[in-house]
Symmetry: C2
Subunit: 150 residues, 2 copies
Amino acid sequence: MKLEDEIKQKKFKSEYQKLLLNVIFTGNWLNSLSIKAFKPYGVSPQQYNVLRILKGQHPNSIMVNQIVERMLDKNSNASRLVDKLVIKNLVKRETCEKDRRQMDVAITDKGLKLLDDMEKNIEHVDQLIAKTLSKKEAEEVNVILDKMRE
Amino acid sequence: MKLEDEIKQKKFKSEYQKLLLNVIFTGNWLNSLSIKAFKPYGVSPQQYNVLRILKGQHPNSIMVNQIVERMLDKNSNASRLVDKLVIKNLVKRETCEKDRRQMDVAITDKGLKLLDDMEKNIEHVDQLIAKTLSKKEAEEVNVILDKMRE
DNA sequence: CCTAATTAAATGTATATACATTAAATACTT
DNA sequence: AAGTATTTAATGTATATACATTTAATTAGG
């Protein structure tokens, strides 16, 4: 659906203005889909993001700072996200003995199992996108978005 | 900067997977820029969005529902956003006499003046984008994002 | 009409976000 | 080595979000 219809705006000041609104709108749209898809598993998109990052490091652990560096939203409070995940036993956290300011964070077996479960059962958004876009189109947008943030 | 570097991830499962992350990441990036740019004027990006919508209708008023229909984030609580704007005297709200369930919301002169002020002083993000992208590139992404949400 | 269903907006509430501050550990600097 | 600066994470707090519930007004159906 065209952005014009999604937000009932007939025209935009410029193609750049539309791009700006389109990226924000589409980001919100994807976020809403994720919230709904993840809800049955009791995790938010941000918590999911942290779990995926930790899975990428498994079986090693990483520090909180490194989690933030890898997150999609740099403003999120990784400390508190990890809190939530520790409570649910999806990750473990312990003081790093080499530098006691740092925390070593790692995904647990339960966390890995949850991700596996989600992987199997969620109609993932990237599959959804694959239905409407060609690989070439996806590539094009990726190149341009990367360029846009310069 | 390439998404790979922004989130320190060497590779993605697919071009679609990268697209998904790229749109969310870039949306967050734009949102952060907006928060910072709008902060000196005492409005959040969502409040700004409402003001722009009301300016588009000026001098007419519209109901809360219609504001939501036009917003970039459909999950936002327009009722409470309008509350905030009323307190700051940027919009006025009164019961619609034709249907007393509805509220007529309109932008005030102070609201118009604020938008005007912001317009003049903010290095707008769309100008920023214009520096790195051609109009053709912006168009391409717009077409593809519109298609993606089908 | 009178009740039930629907619609519009407001409210409640639990959680999340933005961002500043604090606390603790380590690294510098002279 | 002592004091200062820096780094890491946690915490405080005001505001925002997601979403269910409530309240009030209107419409529909018997």
